[in-house]
């Protein structure tokens, strides 16, 4: 599932975060790339162990923990500590598939990258180009979201960031190992959760079908979680 999640950070909060890290010192983005990707990548990243990254990371982590839409769509089991990148004029990132396994630098834990996320810290009006273009099993779609919005998409997809031709694009990006590995299973759970929420609003949490569907939801999670 590809889903655009609005207001993970409030717009002002996102822009402030972008400005705060913009003034830190940045390094070549290839520090986190696999061998194949390195050829295609032209951008900068915030060093993971700097003070600026540490604070910004915690801001993003707190926001994720409070986003019901993110939690329902991603069913996160582990989240790679958020990173930050910056595309200036002439920067871009060619077509690639993300590496399947990342090691969390803080804990040494292997994280399977089921989902990729980009949280926008600049507004579309701040730059030209810089589209996140995802090629999936339904063709190619380009995304450029307002500051504070986040694109969540399967790490199985081929994707690229088109060349920036004006201004600058600053984002946070990271990967999620979901409790539910398979994209189509996770989508089914998301749809079922949406149905249950609508029925709960319409008929109450004690409604017999709400209770039955909730049981089905938990038994499907049980079947697919960590499996």
């Amino acid at each position: 599932m590809l889903i655009a999640i609005p207001d993970v950070l409030q717009r002002e909060e996102a822009l402030a975060l972008g400005r705060a890290i913009a003034s830190a010192s940045w390094v070549d983005g290839n520090v986190t790339s696999g061998a194949g990707a390195a050829l295609a990548k032209r951008n900068r990243q915030l060093p993971e162990d700097g003070e600026a990254a540490r604070e910004a990371r915690m801001t993003v982590q707190r926001a994720l923990a409070k986003s019901p839409l993110f939690l329902s769509a991603a069913l996160p089991h582990a989240i790679y500590p958020p990173l930050f990148n910056r595309y200036s004029i002439g920067d871009g990132f060619g077509d690639h598939v993300d590496n399947a396994i990342r090691v969390d630098p803080a804990t040494g834990t292997q994280i399977r990258t089921d989902l990729s996320a980009t949280l926008f810290l600049t507004d579309p009006s701040d730059y030209d180009g810089g589209d996140l273009v995802v090629s999936g099993n339904f063709g190619e779609v380009a995304y450029k979201l307002p500051a504070g919005h986040m694109l969540l998409y399967p790490s199985t997809s081929i994707h690229h960031v088109s060349e920036v031709t004006r201004g600058e694009r600053i984002s946070s990006f990271f990967w999620i190992e979901s409790l539910v590995r398979e994209n189509e299973a996770r989508e089914t759970l998301f749809d079922l959760d949406q149905s249950i929420q609508h029925l709960t609003i319409a008929h109450g949490a004690g409604d017999a079908e709400v209770l039955r569907l909730t049981g089905i939801y938990h038994n499907l999670v049980r079947r697919w979680a960590k499996a």
Copy 2:
């Protein structure tokens, strides 16, 4: 899932079918047993290729095709041609698990026995003993249903028929290869189908949640069918 399905045949129809085949000639029930089961089995069966069995079989097959509860609970892919057995005084069948694969004598097709079914052609008042006792993952439960009712239960279970001590018990029995092999997956689909039917009655077939849940149902069938 173990489920008692009422009125697969109307009571009078079931009793008439039982009487009709009772007058045919019967043989030792071990003709259809695996090696281990033979030790434990004491009953008689109607020869598969006789005229009486042929007609009775078609009556049962027509009844199954018209039972929505059977179709929703079993999601049949193939049904072994129904057989008929008869427990007289002193007969019974010790604990056993049904063979996993049966060959349809008509077509030579291998049928995986996911579900076992017993359709009762005599009434509980016609005999003492003769309970169908199913030991599953929730303990042991004994069943003795009215004529025309059918017990559908996982072929993975250990089950036995207790000794008949009065009268006679006549039934049809057979196995089903389901589109959905796994018992728990089939149960989830049955529950979801029940929910969709209740919501359709309450809110109409065009209701947005009915449509969404119907899509989820079909995508889950697609995921599990023949897999």
Copy 3:
């Protein structure tokens, strides 16, 4: 995977087929719909057992058997006998998910609908509206292909045909049960087959890596086929 396959029929052949069946008699399209879909469907279909449908069906079946791109992308195990529909002004088909299981009317075989296909028999210039709009895990994309081209897309997707506002749209449509049930597995095999074909052209069929990758391809098919 969603894929547009060009020239399944040559353009003239496709248009001729469309004209040939246009003059036959048509019926309400809901004859093949599930209960939910019926509410949303407004179109006409060619009766399955008519002479016109029989000949047109064979034309489409012969074309499919000769399309390497279709065979590689779909890995067909069973193909539902092609049907034909017709959207005139005011016709359309609301959002729906296709039924998971269809029974082949010729053989009685259950077909799991993994993939849906629409083969266009009129040109985009012949009508306005009538887009095939597929909503998948990468958003919503609208398709309207030239006569003779075919759209192949996962039956798991929600899709609709937008209202025709000028002219008429005639197509063949059908479903495929693939040897490989899972969409992502089938896509991986398609990508690997493409790679092998490119490497074969570049380095020859006897190249060591071509042979090794061909072995990997067959072992992955073996793992996933009919499973």
Copy 4:
């Protein structure tokens, strides 16, 4: 699998534990409920972070680690820190399915609830009502075990506690993430382990079939563990 495990605690030990925590202060049981469950739940629980709960928890954990029947039937990968509840007159808990994922408060680890357990700390003669009623794929069965005995049952089941009408029922309850997620696979392993133990007693640990079956057991665990 549903299984009643006798003497996880000796009867006197269990009753003493029940008396010891009875005098601590208790809170509304809904502190650990999911949203749906809260509607149906009327009981009290021991606060997780109190001294009484801490000691009682360790008593239960030590007992579990020494129960071969529990270890063989549950194949535990993670055990939620045992909780304690108390049903007084008028208390009960309506039909519900347990939440699929619980977070261990001590470690922050997500625990998939494959199995639910109730360890009885009062005797059946101490109260009326208060049955643990489990509805599974073999119908509904009610349980009320002696002090020190434990009921282990699939968390996929719908279950309720009937209203207490006399006296008081005190228990420990918790969830287990098994190495083997699937109920039927876990049951097969339990049956095979029972067979190996019987054959070992009869023919010795060095018997050729004991060795072969032990190899099969370990290879089945390897296939299913954490998968």
Copy 5:
């Protein structure tokens, strides 16, 4: 599992069959090869539709149906109609993996090639070279069996026939789609079946552990068959 099955045909019967077909007319072996294999193959085959092949095929099919070891090890769901090949001096077949899917020419059914079989119709003393060399996950092993014996091996393996340097080697070869797709699962079932047979001989078919293990065997077949 790779297994050598003795006496599928009696030695004299096998040699007689080899002599009988030797006098028929043979064609280039590449008629049944996939594209990659064709490069590596130098042998002759008996045309599938000739009278000689038809009779020889039936002889082999009857022998397979009567071999308990073949049936237990292969758990056949479909057997490709046996073919016959002949390696003369200078002939051989380079390393290759068999195609995953074959179409039964008689029925049009797709057969997944889980297992490959070679039934030897000449004796090792009749030729030099001509070893069947199988490279699996335990290294490379060469086989050359007496007339009437059969090698059954996973079609997933890379294998070749070394060049014949003296005499001539005549064999029947074919593929099996097993009820149980996965090699390791099929091996576990074979081991369990062997154990049950040994325990039955030692303790009788009515022994409690024989019955329990037989139930486990059938439930494992049920879990894996056609899945």
Copy 6:
């Protein structure tokens, strides 16, 4: 997959390690055995918590982390802390299957033993007998590798160490839980990785097919990792 990995340690380094631990004190090898294995085992082991074992363990762990062939073939998720054993004249270890689950003594983590490894610390010329004999689905193969080489083989296999009849054999042994549980899946990934490495050397890391195959590799890892 069974694979012999050369030079995990340099020959001199391996022999020096063997000599260093030889002078420590050793205990009966049955300290780490399951019940069945104990009957068949006659060797000595280095106590896990001694100073000699601690240092030797770190030497082996550092070597494993630097072996690309080990990392690609095993895709390790967890490695049991390496142990050390010693077979003197008359010692040996009968046929057995390794236990499925081991608990890491350092962390308490359960490790599923997918792969077994033996790193040889003495040379084949130092002893007679002492072969590591692995019986897998391709028959039985005996291994005796030079000092510093390591045999990696599926823990599902039955294996034994033949009796030592001259000299002494010292090795490190341990188990690996792979990211990819299934042997055949892991082998496919290894083959694909080998192909990508060869194509990268021949055509460069930016070659279109190298990039496509790398994407396929990562999506297959994603599909199978931790699943």
